[in-house]
């Protein structure tokens, strides 16, 4: 067991013939056998890596492959449409790797996807890894081993750091979920914690947060009231200078929240052990 993706995932890749799309498709295919097709408008009928069919649209790809997940590598200016296309085609799980999606696009997309009850991971995220079963994204497969620790993170490369440290301690992951660091995204900490809590294979959880927003505080509340599995954490940005202020409005709408100290305090109050540096996290259980 695992959450969101496993060896039965049937994945299509939007933007499969682009540079990044093709590179990471190659990596994903090398890791596991879940990529069933790709989408690049105008290139339908071609193949990549000799065997993976390319389609002109998500709809035709879904019709032909019965895909149940789509990963998006298209440039930022096309990403909003790509997510909506996947949702309209009936794909229930969308992972958007693309970074730099305009925030107003994301608000429209997120509200649209919510109406359609589609699960989005990202954007601006490294995707998902269920070690030994499914690599859906750009997390290097060789830095993690299967196990019973669920990992969820707002950061990309920082997540690799933690998986790598876990592997060096022979600690394996059930699923690693990179939810992305953008202000408006699809899935938040609490959503993933809820899945980990329900997943029989996951026995412990590592949560990697960072400054800004209040998702970590909400997660702390969830951990306190709804979780019985142990959680360890790290919050990046403890020494970062305060960010740029969003006029008076920013102060009013996000008053007080968002500092590393606040987040750490909330997590510790919820019984979470918080590490001083990322390589320390796996030693805290």
């Amino acid at each position: 067991m695992s959450i969101l993706v496993d060896k039965n995932t049937r994945l299509i890749v939007q933007g499969i013939t682009g540079n990044e799309g093709l590179f990471h498709t190659t990596q994903m295919v090398a890791y596991s056998d879940i990529v069933v097709g790709g989408v690049t408008p105008g290139k339908g009928g071609e193949k990549v890596l000799d065997t993976i069919p390319v389609f002109d649209s998500v709809k035709t790809a879904k019709d032909a492959t019965d895909a149940n997940a789509s990963i998006i590598f298209v440039p930022a200016k096309f990403a909003a449409d790509a997510m909506m296309e996947a949702a309209d085609a009936g794909i229930p799980l969308i992972i958007c790797i693309t970074e730099g999606v305009p925030v107003q696009d994301m608000m429209r997309v997120r509200n649209y996807l919510d109406q359609k009850k589609v699960r989005l991971i990202g954007p601006n995220c490294p995707g998902l890894l269920t070690p030994g079963e499914a690599k859906v994204g750009i997390i290097p497969g060789n830095i993690a081993i299967p196990g019973n620790v669920g990992v969820v993170s707002r950061s990309g490369t920082l997540t690799y750091e933690v998986l790598y440290a876990m592997k060096n301690l022979n600690m394996g992951a059930s699923t690693c979920v990179g939810i992305g660091g953008d202000p408006v995204n699809g899935t938040n900490f609490t959503d993933v914690l809820e899945m980990f809590q329900a997943d029989p294979k996951t026995e412990k959880v590592i949560m990697i947060g960072e400054i800004g927003g209040n998702e970590e505080e909400k997660a702390a509340e969830f951990i306190k009231t709804k979780m019985n599995k142990p959680v360890a954490s790290f919050i990046a940005g403890q020494t970062a200078p305060p960010g740029k202020r969003m006029g008076h409005a920013g102060a009013i709408i996000e008053s007080g929240a968002g500092t590393a100290a606040d987040k750490i305090k909330a997590l510790e109050a919820a019984g979470v052990k918080v590490a001083k540096h990322p390589e320390e996290i796996p030693t805290l259980f």
Partner: protein, 377 residues
Amino acid sequence: MKLHEYQSKTIFSKYGIPIPKGRVAATPQEAREIAKELGGKVVIKAQVLVGGRGKAGGVKVANDPAEAEELAMQILGMSIKGLPVRKVLVDEASNIDQEIYFSITNDRAAKKPVMIASAAGGVDIEEVAAKTPEKIVKMHIDPIIGLKEYTARDVALAMGLPKQYMKDFTKIALGLWEVFKATDATLAEINPLVITKEKKMIALDGKMLLDDSALFRQVELEATRDTDEDAPAEIEARKYGLSFIKLDGNIGCMVNGAGLAMTSMDVIKLFGGEPANFLDIGGGADSKKVAAAMRIILTDPNVKAVLFNIFGGITRCDEVAKGILVAMDEVKPKVPMVVRLVGTNAEEGRKLLENANMITAETLADAAKKAVAAAKG
């Protein structure tokens, strides 16, 4: 990207929001000319991209063109929070009866734009929000449907705006929403939105922030960017799509990913060092970008050591290594360099750097310790 008051108000006006008559001036003489054109009292306002200019003396009222010139000269000679004032806005003065606060920004928690309004507007609005939050009205806008007239009316009603101004306010709110959408703003703020003694509603001040991620479709606005106030290194970084913030320490950092970059800084501090900068080369950085990043870091004379912490995912370690080699060849750095490469194509990357005389590290903690030691000499 921040816009100046005068830029924001010009946009407001294009979308039907009333603003005072006025223009921007770069010299005292120009200010005098504008004051003459406007006739009567004028307000001279420093145009700088920081808050608090009023309290710093950057806003003054002039009774005639001569005084306008004199005050403009004073203000154009000022620095506000370290930023020199290069332009002033000369606006006709208004007879203020009431100051209202009104803005649209993004509520990331709600995943929706939000209107914030208060009948107790003005410079102390944050204090109002802190002490009497009931005086602050917040109403969300459905990002798909957009702002409806009735929601704007509900804002007016909720803040207790006198009914005779409901139509004016509704029009301004709908206009500001169009501004917000059309410019990909993350903030569009009118403070104060005043009711004058002549019973008119006017946006007396304006502040706008634009979404940097959306600048690709805001070409005209990006062209108006005021780079006067940016450090040359930041301008250079932006050119290459790098995220760079200068800090006061002596260990230069080049990291891929904002989270890992912040963490690298955290760990440098944890082991007794001080980072010289935040620098995220982003995902999928190629060798050109990496070389630019290295040049930017090494331009800072405070830098005594450099830490490269690259964990390959979408970024390939071999590309980063190539960039480092290109930059070293060009810049011939004199400071010690600590390199840590892990992840996608790390092996290939390490091989490329084998003969480059760099300190290598396996873990982040190890890398940070070595960088701290190297900086101490």
